[in-house]
Amino acid sequence: MKLSGAEIFVECLKAEKVDTIFGYPGGAVLFLYDELYKAEDAISHILVRHEQGAIHAAEGYAKSTHKPGVAIVTSGPGATNAVTGIADAYMDSVPLVVFTGQVNRDLIGNDAFQEVDIVGITRPCVKHNFLVTRVEDLAETIKKAFYLATTGRPGPVLVDIPKDLTKDKTEFSYPETVSMRTYNPTVKGHPRQIKNAVDLILAARQPIVYSGGGVILSGASSELKTFAQELGFPVTNTLMGLGAYPATDKQFVGMLGMHGTYEANMAMHKADLILAIGARFDDRVTGDVEKFCPHAKVVHIDIDPASISKNVSVDVPIVGEVKNVLPELLKEIQRRGEKPDQQALADWWKQIAEWQAEDCLKYTQDGDEIKAQYVVEKFWEISEGDAFVTSDVGQHQMWAAQYYKFDKPNRWINSGGLGTMGFGLPAAVGVQLAHPDATVGCITGDGSIQMCIQELATCQQYQLPLKIINLNNGYLGMVRQWQEFFYQKRYAMSYMDALPDFVKLAEAYGHVGMRIEKPGDVEGALKEALAMKDRLVFMDFITKKEGNVFPMIPAGAGQNEMILV
């Protein structure tokens, strides 16, 4: 039987077991929406309020599950509105399949109404993209899109579908498998490199495991835990890797990087062996690469060969899936029946304990101003460390990363690579839809929350009981902090004048709003909000205005040159 392009589109989604699609309709996707309407029992379409929100929601869905996120937007402005989200997903390697409508084929290139070359626009920020030109190619292209998005180093794949093609008809069969002559990611580590890595591991006296988002993407948290605990090595996580190793475990020395802990950064700096696992030596981690880890040999495990020796030169590269490589390493260590020098390791831990004694995250909740750190710490306690937490970008994001101790992977959902303000709320929409019964918190700031605030309406439509924690300092705080430190307190445009009344705003969207101004009320408010299982609660915490995130490695400094307070 012949199916139309639009029917094929829906059949493909079903074949890929897509249960949720985020989107926003428009002229070029009307046939597709008509079929989605008929298929609403199988696939629930979530109507966002801005296409950027659709992509971030799909990201939240993907990051909190192990499934690809799927979104659909119309041509022209619908597609360009989605670009920020697509770039965000690209930077954080989020598996997404994004469908864009395109004008009719005979109009392409004519500056038609709502035409943009979205394939051209997104080329540098997708893993791959396609413009489908024949209905006969549609099913195979969609199959390839899901395959590319979810295998190897994951990433967003865009499929641009001209409108007239969605009503053309052809025989439909969904390919069972797909093979592409140009694409074949390496999943197993090379045996020789495994041996070389084990040589270095066994010779190490001051080792550290530096693990990142790749561990979470690979679903390898338990492998990481076994590996690190078998060896007794200290572990630090990147911002993207939080939760990959349990934060409350004694071998965990905290996050590293610009706002990481003193002990994590010092341990990296003094280490003689760095085991980089699914991490990519981002500049927010390394600081000045010239001063980075001067004494260390580096073993780097990553699925993406292009990440290896890109910023920092590596002694032993292992290209492969972290989930496979870690057990391969352990097997080789066990085969040799040797251990690293245990006395050296004990001395190393003693040194680390001295750095830990600096207690670099210490703060005191005194006075009558609420400290943001205190709010996050209380939220962690009251949610029993078991919430999904999305975040935006700024000081609040760093405080969330520092004070919410993630023990599980896929719980910390933030925009690391692109640093996209506006990510938090729509991402939380996606997380809550994937986990209807879970506590989903969105730790945000007075600046960021206004960038996708319209998604409060989406939350109302689908009854999503998010817990929004607005750390309201009246400033674009992270910008202000840099201006305080490096621009002699000239606070150019970082003061948020004319903030809305967030309580009334939340209420206007049909939600519960709370304003919390006293430290003594923080705990009560959080408890009350978390007890409201079926309502979105917007908690506007009026916090200390000019608080700063510490510790901090100033730009251009080395990891051992942290400012503590």
């Binding site: 080329r123 540098p124 893993k127 592409m180 140009t182 993406d304 060969p305 292009a306 020796s309």
Partner: protein, 162 residues
Amino acid sequence: MRHTLSILMENESGALSRVAGLFSARGYNIESLNVAATDDPTLSRLTLVTHGNDQIIEQIMKQLNKLIDVVKVLDLGDHPHVERELLLVKIEASDAESCDSITRVSDIFRGRVVDIYHRTYTIEVTGGQDKLNAFLNAMQQHAVLEVARSGAVGIIRGSSSS
């Protein structure tokens, strides 16, 4: 260091701009670039000349390999290979004597005159980059009106296919 990369890729619209876009986005330089379909019409070969130290060339190769449309990337310098470029040049002779000189120099470089219009000679020369540069240098005494160069193309010596 100058490197000549031979890139086999899907013969699809967009593939070329992915490669070119990668070079501009990541700040790699392109000295020349040549592309055409191979004997297999679904594949095209792109020969690209770039400059960079070993670390940069390694990154370029990895980034190219990461592109979904790219089948294979080879640094021709790693293998014995033949490299050629085609040069077409238009030269105007001022008098009979310079006509002689032009054809003589052209002969020395194994060039061929492919067109004459009044006193304007169009000459075709193939060779390595150095030879073509030397040829143009030798022609500097005449009025060079226009130059078109193909950029390098190359292939590995022997029976192995890349």
